[in-house]
Symmetry: C2
Subunit: 257 residues, 2 copies
Amino acid sequence: MKILTVIKIGGNIIDRPDELEVFLEKFEKIDGPKILVHGGGVLASEMADKLGIKTKMHQGRRITDLETLKLVSMVYAGWINKSIVAKLQKIGCNSIGLSGADADCVPAVRRSPVPVDFGYVGDVDPHQINTGFLLSMLGKGITPVFCAITHDRNGSILNTNADTMASSIAIALSRDYYTRLIYCFEKQGVLSNPDDEESIIPLITRVSYESIKASGVVRDGMIPKMDNAFFAIDNGVSEVFIKHASNLGNNKGTVLK
Amino acid sequence: MKILTVIKIGGNIIDRPDELEVFLEKFEKIDGPKILVHGGGVLASEMADKLGIKTKMHQGRRITDLETLKLVSMVYAGWINKSIVAKLQKIGCNSIGLSGADADCVPAVRRSPVPVDFGYVGDVDPHQINTGFLLSMLGKGITPVFCAITHDRNGSILNTNADTMASSIAIALSRDYYTRLIYCFEKQGVLSNPDDEESIIPLITRVSYESIKASGVVRDGMIPKMDNAFFAIDNGVSEVFIKHASNLGNNKGTVLK
């Protein structure tokens, strides 16, 4: 079975043009079919500030009202997505920028307004993903570059969590490929001591994950990322990596399997 | 030869959600392969005002500095493009939102800074358009929806005139299709009396165009549109229509051939 690599990058690297360029060069060098999923960055918050759009939160999670939806679609699907595609074209990686609405790639279901209305937020069912279109792109040697915007098939775009977008796409394609999912973020991996970047836990299995969670050493933000990772593994993805973007192409980081 | 319809809509219809919806329903009903190219709308100007980005002009033409490029890519490639795609998906038209950078569809050359530096503005050579990718989309029954953003193959996106984008795409595909190009705008067609919406000139040929231009009855803004139209006809496009968006699907308007 051919290997497919699905990589998610977050806002921290998008905000640093030099690091992004180095990352994209490493990304281009990955052999075989690959898909990039990108998050946001400070631009969305900066724009929100300038436009006077207030960030509404509920228990640490953003509420996407219509103004926020417009803003994130502009920043994510517009400037960031097209900038990344243009940079990849420059270095010989023929890529195509996509939202989930394009070619109906990634439909989503608007999250129920009960008990909390998160607004225009979409949850993705990996089984609804249009793998036919993605397989045809990959077959032509074209690299999809996704922003985390989906649609409800009822005329509205939706804001979706980028980690979930990446894991859903990886799951959907795991019937056709040996699929590796790589979460690039600002830390060296899952750390046993959050203050020590060298305390990388090299391997986490489902069993060790339970004890890691119980021990409380892993920071709050890592829990949903690891939950996503194990959900992907339980649903067909072969390996998940959590690592620093600068270590793409080497073995440094955490493997979950 | 199969008929391909390339339609360009401007900002005036994008700014009116009800009219846009009616237009998209008519667009969906067009038989055979089709491509939509959209312009901007007031959102870009509104956003520029709110963000304090000043519009720089030279002899009536906009200069695209980096801040303006960011803004237009956000508004055109982000919100407007993805909103249109989501609306088309709802009514059963499987569409894909594209900029010229995506799959290297429409590369452009940054306009020379001499004698006037228009900034990040790209001019398109129809012969450089990646028709292979567009033909494969059309062959799958997927409708491309283009914003007028291109790229320079050197890492930068560029702002491009939407009328030119539409005519260039129509020209490029005219070797494979009998190509009809339709410019939808806010008037009923080319008018012999600008104040009388019923004074539509039904047919303009290359010969009658010269006399119309010489007579001065046609308003300034129409001249580049008609120049674009005849450039398209001289380069393979079979027919060009200039008409009101509400008349898509009927014969009202001006035909150039």
